[in-house]
């Protein structure tokens, strides 16, 4: 019953909020109308969930509602381009990820570069894990590498073509001098199915994609590709600990197009910093298997440049 009342209450707030936003619009200063947060991936995906979790507290902080809009397609480039082409007034914000921000524009000319945007802040740096089936003989990264060295070109792995997991495992293979075969997949979930079904021997994937299978003991993680172990999987050693300093960590954060007034940029940065460091929001995010790894704007910008430079030689070679 209480929840119904809650729904009704929420509904009742809508006209009030609309009236309030009108009043606010008359007062000068940013923001004076609702904001749009563009998600370049489909609704329900990990980026979308985190954007929707963010939208409400962020809206409260800014005093204006934040509406999440999904503009998927073209490896995330359609939504990114839409954010770039929108009026540069600070009312269109991009929920940006490694995929649409770094990898897609490196692969093809999609009409933007990473530095056409101004960073607001990083929200998530996801953990990549290398998962195998529970019945796999490999217990560590070394087991796998030894086996793969003895049998070059025998073992398959899955992953979205030239997504971060694919590129990270490629880097590991190069570093360890083994030959693995990539089977292109349409996403993390189809990859998990292929691993469970035996079509591939190993799967580099976002840890949250395989979290439930890891917890249930259907899969085992050989390594994570972070600098430090992930607190959500404390037993899984990093690749570096096992003697293979290979890293890969897809980011999710917020950005606006270059040319947005500094006043709006500062306001957004302050609001994101406050929300991302709010324990209540962090607790909510952790429940979704995504730990918040907030980075302020400058550090986030540095991550862009680092990843762009790291992946440029790999992807431009294609």
């Amino acid at each position: 019953m209480t929840s119904i009342r809650k729904i009704l209450k929420t509904l009742a707030i809508v006209p009030v909020a609309m009236a309030m936003s009108l009043a606010a619009a008359q007062a000068a200063g940013y923001p004076s109308k609702p904001l749009t947060l563009i998600v370049t991936w489909p609704a329900g995906g990990s980026t979308d969930v985190i954007a929707r979790l963010l939208a409400e507290p962020l809206g409260k902080e800014l005093g204006q509602p934040v509406a999440v809009v999904n503009r998927k397609g073209g490896g995330g480039s359609l939504g990114t381009k839409a954010a770039l082409d929108a009026p540069k007034d600070g009312y269109t914000v991009l929920m940006t990820t490694s995929g649409n921000h770094i990898l897609t524009p490196l692969k093809k000319d999609v009409g933007y570069r990473y530095d056409d945007f101004v960073p607001i802040g990083q929200v998530v740096a996801a953990t990549l894990a290398l998962a195998v089936r529970a019945d796999s003989p490999w217990k560590s990264l070394d087991d796998m590498i030894k086996d793969a060295k003895a049998n070059p070109g025998k073992y398959n792995f899955g992953g979205v073509p030239f997504g971060m997991p694919h590129l990270t495992l490629n880097a590991l293979a190069t570093e360890a001098g083994v030959e693995l075969v990539h089977i292109p997949m349409q996403g993390g979930a189809p990859g998990a199915k292929a691993l469970l079904g035996g079509d591939i021997a190993m799967l580099p994937a976002n840890a949250s994609t395989v979290a439930s299978n890891l917890k249930a003991g259907k899969m085992r993680a050989l390594a994570v590709f972070n600098k430090e172990r992930d607190p959500a999987f404390p037993d899984v050693p990093t690749a570096k600990e096992q003697g293979h300093p290979v890293y890969g960590s897809p980011f999710v954060g917020m950005a606006v197009a270059k040319g947005v007034p500094q006043e709006a940029v500062d306001r957004l940065r302050a609001a994101l910093q406050k929300v991302a460091n709010d324990p209540d929001f962090q607790a909510k995010a952790v429940k979704t298997a995504t730990a918040i790894t907030y980075l302020p704007a400058d550090d986030f910008g540095a991550v862009w440049a680092r990843d762009w430079n790291a992946y440029e030689p790999v992807l431009k070679k294609k």
Partner: protein, 506 residues
């Protein structure tokens, strides 16, 4: 047992029951309106569920899902415009029945076939989730390819008497599906210089264009046509009731189609539309009187509708047992689980039996309420046939344009939709069947990805399609299907030659 009671307690609250009812009503309406679609409705409702209890929120989404999958059949039957892609097969016979003044019959069958299939799907989810998931895991890339080829051979069946034109339409669908990102390399191809095409042709624009817009254009040619029914349509008229003979034809079809639909639902990536077409095609191929199909065969409606609704619970099998969503809609629903800290997959399935029990109870209750709401709404729905086309089709045009724009946020896709509308119009005018185009478009990526992944797996050898038993079995079925369809269509064509077929839309 305690878990079951705890589950019952959670579901039989005013809140949860009303959320299911709201979900079903919204779903049926959205499903029935060409232009609005179920994935969009679920995506819009998703943030609302973040504020509700996990079961309450999921109850609403499952209601939308089940209601929407069924709702597509209403407009398919009543105005020959499938509200959802999965209802296109329903339109073939459902709309024919409506033209004969038997709309009530088709509506009843689509509701009852949907409900029976949902019950079977619910039971499969509850009792056989683990073995069904084990089967789904056997469907690797080679099997996906072979299933796709098998489904494609049924295109001829949907060609309404002109196989060559059907095959051409199917081929066009396959061609259109190759635009956009190469699924295996991530390279862009066939974008014709448009950024907006880098994601391929919009599926929703294609569906609405070739069905809703094209049908509206055809209707515009006859502005003064009277509505299909004058005066109140009484569902109690014998023409609107299901006879014993109708049930005799349909029940065996439903009991075959539903389990097939369950398996299709459990295999991630196939979905309700594939199930509806596949079951329609199989049913026509096995029928002793295939010539009745497309002319108002009640078992055609039963096959398509039990086929698409059987998918709706089965798609939760891979989600709950493997952590892999079964279709687009369950992929969106994943968010509703995750935001409450419930990460679907084996850990949740094996360790959180209280939640799973409540979820199962909720799914079954949703099916029950679906029957009640669907039956209560039927006398209302059937009155649509009284609306004059001059009101109906302009409204459909408005909904189509807004629906596409709301879904894709792209004017390019609105124009795409209008373009596909013209294409559909000329196809109808030249007696090309439209359904094969859609099937080709849906199956194209499955076949391409399955083929290319398999060949990488086998390091270049095509033997993999024959050495994997399930794949070989599907290819054998495909061969049988080609022979049956070919022989039958040839015979039908020969029977029809003395008096040439009158073009459609006479």
């Amino acid at each position: 047992m305690d878990l079951l009671f705890a589950g019952l307690e959670q579901v039989f609250t005013v809140e949860t029951l009303s959320l299911i009812a709201i979900g079903l009503i919204v779903g049926i309406i959205i499903g029935a309106i060409p232009g609005l679609n179920v994935p969009l409705a679920v995506a819009i409702a998703l943030p609302i569920t973040f504020k509700l209890s996990p079961i309450g929120g999921l109850a609403m989404l499952v209601g939308i899902y089940k209601g929407g999958t069924y709702g597509g059949s209403l407009s398919a039957v009543l105005i020959n415009v499938p509200g959802t892609p999965a209802a296109a097969a329903t339109a073939l016979d459902g709309a024919a029945l409506t033209r004969q003044g038997k709309a009530g019959k088709a509506l009843r069958m689509s509701l009852y076939a949907s409900i029976i299939a949902e019950v079977i799907s619910d039971l499969a989810l509850i009792l056989f989730a683990v073995p069904v998931a084990a089967f789904a895991l056997k469907i690797g890339p080679p099997e996906t390819f072979s299933v796709g080829v098998f489904a494609l051979t049924l295109v001829g069946v949907l060609s309404q008497g002109n196989m060559l034109k059907g095959v051409m339409a199917g081929a066009l669908g396959l061609l259109l599906s190759t635009f956009g990102v190469d699924p295996l390399t991530g390279d862009f191809r066939l974008t014709l210089g448009f950024d907006a095409l880098s994601g391929g042709w919009s599926f929703i624009a294609l569906v609405i264009g070739v069905f809703a817009v094209a049908e509206a254009l055809v209707k515009v040619e006859r502005p003064l046509e009277k509505p299909m029914a004058m005066g109140t349509v009484r569902l109690s008229d014998p023409d609107h009731r299901l006879s014993r003979d109708d049930w005799r034809r349909s029940l065996p079809v439903i009991t075959r189609s539903a389990p097939i639909g369950v398996l299709i639902g459990a295999i991630p990536g196939l979905g309700a539309a594939v199930s509806a077409y596949l079951n329609y095609g199989i049913t026509r191929n096995l029928s002793k009187t295939p010539e009745r199909f497309g002319q108002g065969a009640i078992e055609g409606v039963a096959a398509a509708e039990s086929g698409n609704n059987a998918v709706t619970s089965a798609t939760f099998v891979p989600l709950l047992t493997l952590g892999v969503p079964g279709d687009v809609i369950t992929a969106i629903m994943l968010g509703a689980f995750i935001v409450h800290g419930l990460i679907p997959g084996p850990a949740l399935f094996e360790q959180n039996s209280a939640f799973i029990a409540a979820f199962f109870v909720m799914v079954v209750v949703t099916t029950g309420l679906h029957l009640i709401i669907g039956r209560l709404g039927m006398p209302l729905f059937v009155q649509t046939t009284r609306i004059s086309n001059k009101f109906l089709f302009p409204a459909i045009m408005v909904l189509s344009v807004t629906g596409v724009y709301v879904t894709t946020n792209s004017f390019f896709d609105v124009f795409t939709m209008l373009g596909f509308g013209l294409l559909g119009y000329f196809m109808i005018k030249c007696s090309f069947p439209v359904a094969p185009l859609l099937i080709g478009f849906i199956l194209g990526p499955l076949i391409e990805i399955g083929l290319r992944q398999s060949v990488i797996m086998s390091r270049g050898s095509f033997d993999i399609f024959l050495t994997r038993p399930l794949s070989a079995a599907f290819l054998a079925l495909a061969a049988v299907s080609v022979v049956i369809v070919g022989v039958r269509e040839w015979r039908l064509a020969r029977r029809n030659t003395p008096n040439p077929k009158t073009p459609e839309g006479d």
